[in-house]
Symmetry: C2
Subunit: 232 residues, 2 copies
């Protein structure tokens, strides 16, 4: 626990990746609000999650209301909806941390790295929002498949990139709350590494017929609390 329970909005929380994060954060003791274009659907999905969790940790509403009510906002919508969603909730983000898990996947060739001309999809959002929001890139490389298997250890680390070190540290704490080791990996432009890696890991999934390849960082002394048996 980062010290206290907070309220997280998961924009795109009815999707696979967002839903997985919502379940994990709810299980860890945080309050979670699923945001969606469809508030009724978000409420229904939240109810099902509460049944899974055995307690009322999750609620659902519009993206805008979810962002407004949250301490920290997590963006998990598809790349094609990333900018429009941010623009829609922009007023509600002011002064907050926005965790952006976007990878610029362009269907159908999602196993090909296709970074945007700006270099990084998440860095482009930080440029859009300017100093009013601290954007932190995280969670691109954790498979939704593994997130949703609540009984299972998540054998995957995440790269945490952002221009504000304190915001990165908060996100590393939130990742630790759900059993994921996050590593300070440099400024927001370095999000390009996590974004490109997403397509490379999809290529590995296809080639080796596995549902959720990920990475572990080696060569760094790991927090003993997070050290697990990493033999897959």
């Amino acid at each position: 626990m980062i010290g206290k329970a907070i309220t997280l909005a998961i924009l795109g929380g009815t999707g696979q990746e967002g839903g997985g994060l919502a379940l994990r954060f709810g299980k860890a003791g945080h309050r979670v609000i699923l945001g969606s274009r469809d508030a009724a659907r978000a409420s229904a999905v939240a109810r099902a999650m509460n049944e899974t969790l055995g307690r009322a940790a999750v609620s659902g509403t519009t993206n805008k209301e979810a962002a407004a009510a949250a301490d920290v906002v997590v963006l998990t919508v598809p790349y094609a909806a990333q900018r429009a969603t941010v623009e829609e909730v922009r007023e509600a983000l002011r002064g907050k941390i926005l965790i952006d898990a976007t990878a610029p996947l362009k269907p159908p060739k999602v196993a090909r790295v296709q970074l945007p001309p700006e270099g990084s999809a998440v860095a482009a959002i930080q440029a859009l929002l300017g100093g009013e929001v601290r954007v932190v890139s995280a969670f691109q490389n954790v498979s939704a498949h593994h997130l949703r298997e609540l009984g299972r250890e998540i054998a995957c680390d995440v790269l945490i990139c952002g221009d504000d070190a304190a915001a990165r540290e908060t996100v590393i704490g939130l990742a630790a709350d759900i059993g994921i080791a996050g590593f300070h990996a440099g400024p927001i432009c370095n999000s390009a590494a996590a974004e490109a890696l997403t397509s490379a890991l999809i290529a590995i999934n296809l080639r080796y017929k596995c549902p959720g390849a990920g990475i572990r960082i080696t060569g760094v002394a790991r927090d003993r609390e997070l050290l697990r048996d990493s033999s897959e």
Copy 2:
């Protein structure tokens, strides 16, 4: 062993990364020719390597002669010298596999991802060479520090990207010869992931004060022969 000993040219073989690969390939039983702009220096470095290895596995000459005499050519020069070196040895590459370990680091900000406008430094070389050479991206994320500690297990996997699956497979075999697990990670454009990751890992090295952060791929059944205790 990929089945037989081959001759590898390591262009930039007097450098840290190239030298580390040369020592490992020499130790594995392959013949290695260090290429350098300075043939005398390459010969001197090769002599020192042979003393370390306890046998005459390594020789040194110009980049051009090294490439001409090799079965497989490995490029480990700094990014600023990548294109000029390839142009210099181009004739000698025809029909061969070129393993390009280049990451587009731009000093002094080597811990910032700065991919070239084409998206990937290695993909740009494949575009330059066209169908006459099969370019495979590999070894960007293995620290020279660990390569040179010959007694030490290399706790790092590598992403293997290239448009030719058979060439990728050959490089995975060569990586296995030196104790490194390589993973098919998609077409040559996916080299952007390994290239960007290089800067992110340098950022991790700086932040966590370690000499050689790397990655392991998780969630994939690993070749048992390559499975090591990965607790760092």
